[in-house]
Amino acid sequence: MHEATIAQSILEAISAEAKKQKARPIAAKISCGVLSGINNETLKFAFEALSKDTVCENLKLNIKQKPIKAKCKKCDAIFAFDLHESKCPKCRHDDFELLPDAPLLLEEITFEDK
């Protein structure tokens, strides 16, 4: 639902970098935590609509959802948290701490050769 706001922020960040690099961006890698509630298709759609007639038009957005990590309170193991199997994969203990979700990051931009 808020993907348009996020797409606008991504567009601004890529455009700023493009200005710095004096080149046309053709692809960008985004990563976010699964709990950030971002839908890949919606974000791509919003980005496509907003980037029309900008330096980012036709840019290929590659979005990677990172699993949420949890830390077992018994054995300290850090593991990818699975909603359907919420036990430590190492010691089977069921008390754990959810670690902060991965932030929404603009990881990398691919620019066209000058």
């Binding site: 509630g37 949420i68 932030p103 603009l106």
Partner: protein
């Protein structure tokens, strides 16, 4: 083709405001609870009844988030607490910057506790950090017992889940045991209160928890302001 590593945080503006809010609250030792639920779960009634029950014990201020109208802020003021209404004009969540502004419209120095009643929505508000002390999820019985499984984001992050409208439990298929198990699967430490804001059932336990939260903050202040020997 040339690749440039950027590693730039996208929602940095919101994060900056959220951490500003966090230090603002920490300095003043005021806990702030971000209340998140679907529309119609009874958040405002619950807050109004909580304010009435804690009158004279805990001084509460409320930040109300709605897409339109100030109906909720009026209801809160009628219950006896100062309230600031934020209208998001269509946005599905409150942002940390809006909360930052609202803090300055509340009589902060007189408050022991702040509630933020977020826009009725189980999805987006759970993504946007407001700098709150804790998130509180409200789930009402008529919504059904599958919500924690369907909307795990908020239930995994909430310190407290209030199961509201428990008075109509008998008329529904809502399975309290299943909900409790689903929530506990996401977070074993979540406190769950079964309440009915309308009849008052379970409200004492919830209000005791709040009183304790506000008290602990106050005790910390006393400790700090006591002159050194």
């Amino acid at each position: 083709m040339r690749k440039v590593k950027v590693r730039k945080k996208i929602l940095i503006a919101n994060e900056e405001y959220a951490s500003k809010n966090r230090s603002f609250l920490k300095e003043r030792k005021i806990p702030c609870l971000n209340v998140i639920s679907s529309p119609g779960s009874g958040k405002t009634t619950l807050l109004a009844k909580t304010i009435e029950a804690l009158k004279g014990k805990v001084s509460i201020g409320v930040i109300e988030g709605d897409i339109q109208t100030d109906i909720d802020a009026k209801r809160i003021r009628k219950a006896g607490a100062p309230a600031v209404q934020i209208n998001t004009d269509g946005a599905c969540h409150l942002s940390a910057a809006q909360i930052s502004n609202a803090f300055h419209k509340l009589p902060i120095d007189r408050l022991d506790l702040i509630f933020v009643e977020n826009v009725g929505n189980l999805v987006c508000p759970s993504t946007f950090d407001l700098g709150e002390t804790d998130k509180i999820a409200v789930l009402s019985v008529p919504e059904g017992d599958d919500k924690p499984a369907k909307y795990p984001m908020i239930f995994a992050r909430a310190a407290v889940v209030l199961i509201n409208k428990i008075d109509i439990l008998a008329a529904t298929d809502f399975n309290v045991k299943k909900v409790k198990a689903d929530i506990s699967k996401l977070n074993k430490n979540t406190k769950i209160f079964l309440v009915s804001a309308k009849t008052g059932v379970g409200m004492k336990q919830w209000c005791d928890w709040l009183e304790n939260l506000a008290d602990n903050k106050r005790k910390k202040i006393l400790k700090k302001t006591r002159p050194r020997q």
